[in-house]
Symmetry: C2
Subunit: 394 residues, 2 copies
């Protein structure tokens, strides 16, 4: 049976994948009096008097909302809230299985930004964190921005989860090819949620994770080619980015950009490149072709000239997969009592993730279900949260 049919069968037989369960028994009248009324009133009074006790006495300490409006689901596009549910349930399953976090899907019908922002702010009480998911660019930027200061960690995973895992992959790949990360000339294709977040985080690629070295050698491309300062059609997010990328104001196509580049990062479309394009890159090129399910260039084709190739797929070596990032990041943020997920935490996550393997050409990242990843990443994220001063006083 193929994957699609297997997946349909699994969902049909289980009627979805997610359940809610009780951590406490209700077998006797006494149980009922403690779990529910009248005993529970005392717990509510306690929280009413000491609002921060909500973390001590409720599920908030371990719960994350996976919030989407269904506007950019996987590669399927704007399929809406209902059709997004299987994906969001899947994400919640991974939160649970990988990081023991109680995540619940909030699939929002409206695609009005202000309404989405208001809904998330208003349903926040029971959640300890918010994972924004599959919200289309550029709307995702404004929505996330508006939610960063609500007092609990908020992260749009398509942006920052991807960026963290890409940064980890590059740290290890550059070790394998013995290049200094700060000296890499990087081309990113795709200026949506992932591309823009990857660009921003890669500006902090410096080997010393405590010093953000602004890298001038990042060139971001969109469907119209290289993005440069002064290109007339840039939206505000791209305009902001050209201030610190493409310092030489190079113009041209993606293929022009690749000339002399050390790294290609694709978060765009299938089959954009061939081996001749990779040939134009520097020696020991690193190619992360993450378009899903079909990459920008297939690994065998890229490997004719590249030293290291990664994709988003599990059936090739070097799978660059978000599930290596978000579980540990949220676990660490929750454990630290962090009020947000800042750059320091993302960079720490990337370095910790990179540290989970002894990097080789065909193993720049750990296996997606590697049980060592979440403990390592969450520990690093927690430490970074404390050191960068974003933890709640308890």
């Amino acid at each position: 049976m193929d994957l699609n049919r297997e997946s349909l069968k699994l969902h049909l037989e289980n009627r979805g994948k997610l359940a809610v369960s009780s951590k406490v028994a209700v077998r006797t009248k006494n149980d009922l009096s403690i779990v529910y009324t009248p005993g529970v009133a005392e717990v509510s009074k306690q929280i009413h008097s000491n609002p921060s006790d909500v973390y001590k006495y409720t599920m908030k300490s371990n719960s994350v909302a996976v919030v989407t409006d269904g506007s950019a689901v996987l590669g399927l596009g704007n399929i809406g809230a209902e059709a997004s549910i299987p994906v969001m349930e899947g994400k919640c399953v991974l939160f649970k299985e990988l990081a023991n976090i109680d995540a619940f899907p909030i699939c929002i019908k409206t695609q009005d930004d202000d309404a989405i922002i208001s809904i998330v702010k208003n349903i926040e009480p029971v959640f300890g964190g918010i994972n924004l998911e599959d919200i289309a660019a550029p709307r995702c930027f404004g929505i996330e921005e508006a939610l960063l200061d609500i007092g609990i960690p908020v992260m749009h995973d398509d942006q920052h989860g991807t960026a963290i895992v890409v940064l980890a992959a590059l740290l290890n790949a550059s070790k394998v090819v013995k290049k200094n990360p700060e000296d890499l000339k990087i081309v990113i294709n795709g200026a949506g949620a992932a591309g823009i977040a990857v660009s921003k985080l890669l500006m902090c690629i410096g080997v010393d994770k405590n010093i953000c070295t602004p890298v001038k050698e990042i060139i971001l491309c969109d469907s119209r080619g290289i993005i440069y300062d002064g290109r007339p059609d840039l939206n505000s997010f791209k305009k902001e980015l050209v201030k610190c990328t493409n310092g030489q104001r190079k113009a041209g196509t993606l293929k022009d950009a690749l000339e002399g580049a050390d790294v290609f990062i694709g978060v765009s479309k299938a089959n954009l490149l061939n081996s001749d394009d990779i040939k134009k890159m520097n020696r020991d090129a690193i190619v992360l072709a993450m378009a899903n399910p079909i990459p920008e260039i297939m690994p065998d084709e890229a490997l004719k000239f590249a030293a290291i190739v990664g994709t988003g797929r599990s059936d090739f070596p070097n799978q660059v997969n978000n599930s290596l990032g978000f579980p540990g990041v949220f676990r660490g943020a929750l454990d630290a009592n962090a009020m947000k997920i800042n750059n320091e935490m993302k960079i720490a996550a990337a370095h910790a993730l990179a540290g989970c393997v002894v990097p080789k050409k065909d193993k720049i990242l750990p296996y997606t279900l590697d049980k060592n990843v979440v403990p390592a990443v969450s520990e690093a994220v927690k430490k970074a949260a404390v050191e960068s001063g974003v933890v709640r006083k308890v």
Copy 2:
């Protein structure tokens, strides 16, 4: 250790009571490909093409949101969303333990009615039902009204759950004292969420559950005494009710109302009555004094003159408790693919609940954790949903 301390300890040790769990295993790469990408895309596409398949392939078929704004939590009043969480988690635990429903707390920060209505409408996709909880009267009426036609069952439990269980209690109590339910003279004290819903449902107390007999002999009282047509201070909900209650336009105090009454139903305040007040009632009086935790009159005091006494408490006979109602009602509504919970379903639930015991003076209702209740109630509710034509075509 007393109940309060036991409850605090249980909540602290477990950090709340509710968890999210996965119904499927994720142990191998293949599992991951079926549960999440790429396989899950096929499931999303399926729902996108056939929207009603959301019930087949996702958790929606078995999930209920327990929605509150924290404005009327237990007897604690307007304690807000955060402090309401322990109560809502408790409700969700009961949903799970009693009816195997996956319920999740949505504790809303705003107390603006339109905002609450809009939030519930917008987060509806992942939920198969909405249990409104602990929203203050009279706001709860308008909020529920605005949500009745969103296509999934919506019920404000403080209103209708209470009404269902009270109706069941009265059906059985009137059997024990050998009075015809339609002939009962009923006094209800408390014209909030519960009192108004109880009044409305009791108009359908007729022994034949298929015929709603409007009962003229209900008198509703609030803190200012008997509510009658023309009393100058009535809100719109009370005004609507006087059209079909208190037909003789009796005025006066609660104590005046009790003269010659067969039934007292209290959903109000502690210690309002003494045995002299009960003495004024008809012989074989039925007293349901449900103020929590201290009833309007203590059972031993009431029993000096009443034949049957029930309270909201588990430490006296005849506990009149909502958890006898809502689990079976929602189970039946979900199983029936009902689009709403109508009067027919509520009345069927009450009759089925009453049928769970052979009624005696000290056992007019089953024990709250009686495992026979949910199957009986849900079956009756399902049947009523089908017969009254409110089920979704599948």
